[in-house]
Amino acid sequence: MGPGSYATYQPLLAAGNTEVGELILSNYDLGLIVVAALLAAASYWALKFTRYGRLLTAVIFDRETAAAFGINVTAVYTITFVIGAMLGALGGAIMAPKIAVTLGIGVEVIVLAFAVVAIGGMGSIEGALIGALIVGICRAAAVHLVPQLELFVIYGVMALVLMIRPYGLFVRAQPRRI
């Protein structure tokens, strides 16, 4: 242990490659896409169709009213935080073979994650999906096509989206609370 970095590329190599025409794709990358899609579907289902998901939606909508209806708000917050932390840890774990693991790799990710949420809209899983795609594609496109913009293209896109949709792309109209 210490401040040095680690390379954990073994799973990436062990997974091998797939050739599609002229393109060589890493099986590990393809697996990542499948895992991400499955997790997104699972979270969507859990949030919309399970008892706990509905409790969580109620708590987010109005904490006090939810408590008045007998929902244990603290427990819901704790469980949600644990799930969020687990998803974050899983994200780190499956990314580790693709990057050099070092202290502070989370710092850039946290800002990107907030950008994705701001683009997609809070509490929206489809928004997070689309937001992540927008961020990823814009970054990759900028690196290839206009390297001058590489450093801030994500922030530029986020600013543009927020100018047009101040609460993100996929947000339901909120009632005014007086």
């Binding site: 800002v111 907030f114 701001a118 450093l151 801030f152 600013a159």
Partner: protein, 316 residues
């Protein structure tokens, strides 16, 4: 009560000014940077009271600093006071312009949009060869109304200038908190619609706060540029903004003085941590922030309140 607070703050100011004559250079230079950053924190407190957290205060900080550096390079102007005022004014002007956009946003969207703006400036500065790219460029030693001190004397003169600016800013912001527009910050945080029903424009109130915080951050950046003698694009990077938010949490948003106490505490803590634990200084900083949030959720400023409250309870 307010009277007593002002007397206490003024005596603290006099002690801080007199201390420059006896303290070693490194403490004076640390305190100069700390108090310059304290101005930025004061601006964040103005927003914080209305429930807004800006993760892009580095934008104004950087504009203030670059205005000083560019003006010095283009015209050869070296007067610290004029440079600082122009730095603050240019940041305030930018805050006024982006305020038309930012005043519509709240919560994470406000934080992220302000962060986006500061990161765009960062990207532009890094790619701009004529502005020194990632190296930035240096700032000439300042003069004070024709008085051109060197070395130790320059350090003390700059420290006194920063103290004076901080004192004036603290006094004015304190007066703002007591004014109608300032006092409406907490109602805006609690329920905007009620404030609208009272006949006040929430977006105008927030726009005013944005301009005030931009002005303060610009002056802080200008003074920091003069004190460090160098500007670089990292002044606009989001970690700089994050640091200011960190200090604001440490200080608390209850009143104006904790901004400077918190900033001084943060800089001292960082220097101390760096000297004692060169590899683990972030751990020490993080632990202090965690303990502050757990035991002093209202920040360092609430310590004074607690003492006062206890005294009142003890009194018969």
């Amino acid at each position: 009560m307010a009277q007593r607070g002002r007397i206490a703050a003024s005596s603290a100011l006099l002690v801080a000014a007199a201390a420059a004559l006896v303290l070693p250079d490194w403490i004076i230079s640390l305190a100069t940077i700390a108090f310059a950053n304290g101005l930025v924190v004061l601006g964040l407190i103005v927003l914080w009271r209305a429930g807004l957290v800006s993760f892009g205060q580095a934008l104004y900080y950087c504009i203030g600093a670059y205005a000083v550096a560019l003006l010095g390079r283009a015209t050869g102007a070296t007067d610290a006071l004029i440079l600082m005022l122009i730095g603050g004014a240019s940041a305030g002007l930018v805050a006024f312009m982006v305020g038309f956009l930012l005043a519509r946003y709240r919560e994470i969207f406000f934080a992220m949009l302000s962060l986006a703006l500061s990161m765009i400036l960062y990207g532009v500065l890094v790619k701009a060869e004529s502005l020194g790219s990632t190296d930035g460029f240096s700032v000439a030693a300042p003069t004070f109304f024709g008085y051109a001190p060197h070395q130790d004397k320059l350090l003390v003169a700059l420290y006194w200038l920063v103290l004076a600016v901080c004192a004036i800013a603290a006094f004015l912001v304190d007066a703002y908190f007591r004014s109608l527009s300032g006092a409406l910050a907490m109602p805006v945080r609690d329920n905007e619609i009620r404030v609208e029903f009272l006949g006040m424009s929430v977006s105008r109130l927030i726009h005013t706060k944005l301009v005030i915080s931009g002005l303060l951050a610009g002056m802080g950046g200008a003074l920091a540029a003069l004190a460090i003698g160098h500007v670089d694009p990292n002044m606009s990077y989001w970690t700089t903004s994050g640091e200011f938010v960190f200090i604001t949490i440490l200080s608390g948003a209850g009143s104006v003085v904790p901004a400077f106490v918190g900033s001084l505490a943060f800089e001292s803590l960082r220097s101390f941590a760096f000297a004692v634990l060169p590899q683990l200084w972030q751990m020490l900083l993080g632990s202090v922030l965690l303990l502050t949030i757990l035991f002093l959720p209202q920040g360092l400023g609430s310590l004074i309140m607690r003492l006062r409250w206890r005294r009142k309870v003890e009194a018969p």
